[in-house]
């Protein structure tokens, strides 16, 4: 990506103030947090840090930091969130072309409870991979939740399920990511985000019925409540902000080659329980590009075709199944499914 100078709102770059001179020299100006879609990623999902994790677990924090400093000039390899972040930057480049003055962009922030000692290695790594990350928080062990809220985070990705749960409890969309050995190639030109329905976009109310009373009761309940909107789930807001950015491309006649594409991949079935999901989305004013109703069939093969940069599901069973086929899947630890053993409890048609 080329470094460039953009016009500030106050007029052409001039040397009359330090601010303007700096903006001429610097990379693209960072958008203000309240205008941007803020995506916070932790260092363990953006990069691969397994070796360092092992040092930390086996030898303690002092040795871990010593190791990091010793290897400071060795960049980390890309982690599970890396392709997603690269795709966000692709979208930003397209948005800047169309709307050079706008701050409605993705703002990628590194939020880690790593110690600032690791900071130089992380910055070297970001430089090595040419990533556009200019904001970060290294909290040295304290909870990053306060900072997530301060920066009006729209999505938080971490390797630590407890931190993710904390974020969800604070109303921040969040998901846990895992390193997988098999990753299939994803598009470099189009950001693809796939969502499960229940307990991700929607609340877990219907799942509760299914878990408590079984499949028949579930169908009955959905039929009876077809015209009642589902309540919203933790990732609804994120789908919403994606939709807002999509509309910016449509407004410039770029519907067909929009660099953002969204998918609903649900075990609901199109003819019956899926109707309620669609009606709800429509009532929310949210468009989803492709809705895939699997009626209980496994999600893996469908996801393998879609090749999303990230797939959100509340059930570890589906996350693991997707990962086995090379899909980058993230777990949303929300709702009733968390009380059940993931491998045992497949949702056989929701």
């Amino acid at each position: 990506m080329t470094k460039g100078c953009i016009q500030s709102h106050d007029g052409p770059c001039s040397s009359s103030s330090l601010y303007h001179s700096l903006s001429c020299l610097s990379l693209f100006l960072q958008p203000k947090p309240e205008n941007a879609v803020t995506i916070a990623v932790s260092s363990r999902v953006l990069f691969r840090t397994e070796r360092e994790q092992k040092v930390f677990e086996q030898k303690g924090v002092e040795e871990y930091l010593r190791y990091q400093i010793e290897h400071e000039n060795e960049p980390f390899a890309p982690g599970p969130a890396f392709p997603f972040v690269k795709a966000l930057e692709t979208v930003n480049a397209r948005l800047r072309d169309l709307y050079p003055q706008s701050e409605e962009l993705f703002d990628i922030v590194l939020v880690t409870y790593n110690h600032a000692h690791v900071g130089i290695r992380l910055i070297n790594t970001i430089n090595h991979h040419n990533l556009f990350i200019e904001r970060f928080c290294m909290t040295g062990g304290s909870s990053p939740i306060g900072y997530l809220k301060a920066w009006q985070t729209n999505l938080y990705l971490s390797a630590d399920a407890d931190k993710v749960r904390e974020a969800l409890a604070e109303g921040i969309a969040a998901a846990t990511m895992f390193m997988s050995e098999k990753i299939t190639e994803v598009s470099e030109y189009q950001l693809r985000v796939a969502f499960d329905g229940d307990a991700v976009l929607f609340s877990d109310e219907s799942e509760r019925i299914f878990k408590a009373h079984g499949l028949d009761k579930f169908f009955e309940h959905e039929r009876e409540n077809e015209d009642t909107l589902l309540d919203h789930g933790p990732l609804k807001g994120f789908l919403e902000v994606l939709g807002k950015l999509q509309k910016k491309f449509y407004a410039k006649g770029q519907r067909l080659d929009c660099p953002i594409r969204t998918y609903l991949v649900t075990a609901r079935s199109a003819a019956s329980s899926g109707i309620r999901a669609l009606k709800t989305l429509r009532a929310w004013g949210l468009e989803i590009d492709e809705a895939l109703f699997l009626a209980g069939a496994p999600k893996g093969p469908m996801l393998e075709k879609i090749r999303p940069h990230i797939f959100f599901d509340d059930q570890m069973f589906h996350v693991e199944g997707a990962a086995e086929m090379g899909t980058i899947a993230a777990h949303v630890p929300y709702g009733i499914a968390q009380n059940h053993n993931p491998k045992q409890n497949a949702s056989v048609g929701k």
Partner: protein, 260 residues
């Protein structure tokens, strides 16, 4: 007129090794009613307690430790000067580890700072802080967002933008003061491991992006300072970050307080 009173309740620190910090009595004590014997706790009270805790930990590790904070309570307000007995008795009442009391007027308090070899001056008054900085004394402005954080650790936040400013011409004395103070903090940190440190050092950069932050980290490292937490804002708003980090004071490398 300038006067110095030793606090006989407290063991005097070694002048060659101690780190002298002057805090204004206005910052430490709130206003008390006239009949009261003792002042209430002011906004810098938790800060003072945090400084004391650092000393306690240093002495626990090594009872013969000489690198300690030496706290001077400075009264610059001529009105407050008349209350000097009450300032002294309040200090004793709370068992504050103040080594000495300095009383001076608004005109000559900076002389007092220099004479007492003060390495850091903390005040709630912007003018006072600015005057001291101009005469080469490292100063920090205390306000409600800082100072009063009731944390177990002493939390110091370096403002990285100032740390990496290039020197134009000869190094200003306040900058020298900042360098030597940070080196001493680094020295104190090295007395502890990561898990039992009573000191927490943060860095925040506002202008520029990650490379500015990397520069600041390198600079502080070269002074022997171990940064625990780092925040690179790239011009995002300060306030929310400060209200989460809650430093006791901010050091801006002798370039005065934060602007904006």
């Amino acid at each position: 007129m300038v006067s110095t009173v030793l606090n006989t309740d407290v063991k005097q620190k070694d002048a060659d090794h101690a780190v002298v910090i002057a805090v204004t009595s206005r910052a430490v004590f709130g206003s008390g009613a006239d009949d009261d014997e003792v002042y209430g706790e002011g906004l810098a009270f938790p800060l003072l307690q945090a400084l004391q805790r650092v000393n306690e930990h240093l002495l626990m590790n090594n009872p013969a430790e000489l690198l300690l904070f030496d706290i001077v309570l400075l009264t610059t307000d001529s009105q407050q000067q008349q209350q000097s007995p009450r300032i002294i008795s309040s200090t004793r009442h709370y068992g504050l580890e103040v080594g000495r009391f300095c009383f001076s007027s608004e005109e000559d308090f900076v002389e007092n700072l220099l004479k007492n070899n003060v390495q850091l001056f903390l005040s709630t008054d912007r003018n006072e802080a600015s005057q001291a900085t101009q005469r080469g004394v490292l100063s920090a402005l205390l306000d409600h967002q800082t100072a009063s954080c009731p944390s177990e650790q002493l939390k110091v936040l370096f403002f990285g933008d100032a740390v990496i400013q290039p020197d134009t011409g000869p190094t200003p004395p306040s900058r020298q003061a900042a360098r030597s103070f940070s080196a001493q903090l680094g020295e104190m940190q090295r007395r502890f491991t990561m898990s039992d440190s009573p000191l927490s050092i943060g860095l925040v950069t506002w202008r520029g992006g990650r490379d500015s932050c990397a520069d600041a980290l390198h600079t502080l490292r070269s002074r022997g300072v171990r940064v625990d937490e780092a925040y690179c804002l790239a011009e995002a708003p300060w306030g929310p970050i400060l209200s989460v980090f809650r430093p006791h004071f901010l050091l801006s490398d002798g370039f005065g307080g934060l602007e904006g």
